[in-house]
Symmetry: C2
Subunit: 195 residues, 2 copies
DNA sequence: CGGATGACAGATTTCAATATTTGTCATTCG
DNA sequence: CGAATGACAAATATTGAAATCTGTCATCCG
């Protein structure tokens, strides 16, 4: 075994994130990633078939990080569905708003990656809608919500709150009125589900 | 008076629309507009202070055309507010979907103009939200809706249905599932207003 | 022998020279 | 005299030649 750690997909992804953070989505090259790892760019191609695949994997990782917090809220037992739904929507908005506000450049970088990788994004969105469906189904079982078609309702909730999680609206999230606008939509949608 | 009709802002706007349709937003120049009118480009600048102002005026005109249909629905007397609101939202979606579907290139051209002219767009959106507020207020007065803050509720309805009128989502509007998704959000939102 | 290398061809991006466009205004025209 | 013109400077866009990057693969190294 050599002095440096073995070259793994994991290490390559880490380095790619760093390079993207430093150079942005247009300037970051595979050669940069290889240089950051102290290997030739040919070695990177041993673990990822293309630059596109590498960027896709990084995008997937980034999206995955948000899902954990939401999953915890979804799985929380013994809490009214309406409250849980409100908490879930607020957590999603909060997470996005922080990512966008803390480091706008990095957020812009990932917004570009998101646009490039619609397959990964679609899978991520499906996962989020599936979590919503679990909460909505819980509410329906408890008689809290009156919902004929749970998946459709979950999708509708997600669509209706798009302004507060779709990155295209990120510039609006730093405006002061945004909190009130979010509360209004969140409340409207939850009322719409009620029995 | 010369043989040709007098040069008016109206005629210039017409010619500008035609040039934008033909050449698209990046290639359309003030010289092209002047050529279409058979005058020198200096004459165009007698009626509009800049190319930006000209494009802004064209954008305003284009947005104005949709408002008429919606205003007629808003003003219709003796109709339940819930029904009116459903019709209004459906009409807005229908209008956008047709504009986008009938001539995608022209729609793309105007999408670029919209992005350039956020002042005009904001004014247009305010007008739409004001119409929504009238319908919501009617419903509240009739005891059909239970709404503590009418302007906020109107804004929330508009925000929640963004996926079906914001041009950024236009590519989704040709998908077959879109009608069901629209119905689901529309119904959810209207239920959320109900007393 | 399995993993890493770097030379290479084709694709893509950059950059600077060149051309076009915007906006002004002194002059012309009816 | 008021509206229209077109020459012009500054700003912007286009182009194509040079540089860089992606992806492959014959070769090397431990």
């Amino acid at each position: 075994m050599s002095a440096a750690a073995a070259l793994t997909p994991e290490r390559i992804l880490e380095a790619t994130e760093e390079v993207l953070r430093r150079y942005g989505p247009t300037k970051a090259t595979v050669v940069d990633v290889a240089r950051a790892l102290g290997v030739s760019h040919g070695s990177v191609y041993r673990h990822f078939p293309s630059k596109a695949a590498l960027r896709e994997a990084v995008t997937d990782r980034w999206l995955g990080r948000t899902v954990g917090v939401l999953e915890r809220i979804t799985a929380e037992p013994g809490r009214p569905a309406a409250e849980k739904l409100a908490a879930w929507l607020a957590a999603l908005f909060e997470a996005k708003r922080h990512k966008a506000g803390d480091d706008p450049e990095l957020f812009a970088t990932y917004t570009v990656l998101l646009a490039e990788n619609s397959r990964v994004v679609d899978a991520h969105l499906s996962e989020l809608v599936a979590q919503l469906a679990r909460i909505v189904a819980e509410g329906a079982d408890a008689g809290e919500f009156s919902v004929p078609d749970v998946p459709a309702a979950a999708r509708a909730v997600f669509d209706a709150t798009g302004r507060f999680h779709d990155p295209q609206y990120a510039p609006e999230w730093s405006r002061p009125e945004i909190a009130a606008a979010f509360e209004a939509v969140s409340a409207l949608v939850i009322r719409g589900l009620r029995a």
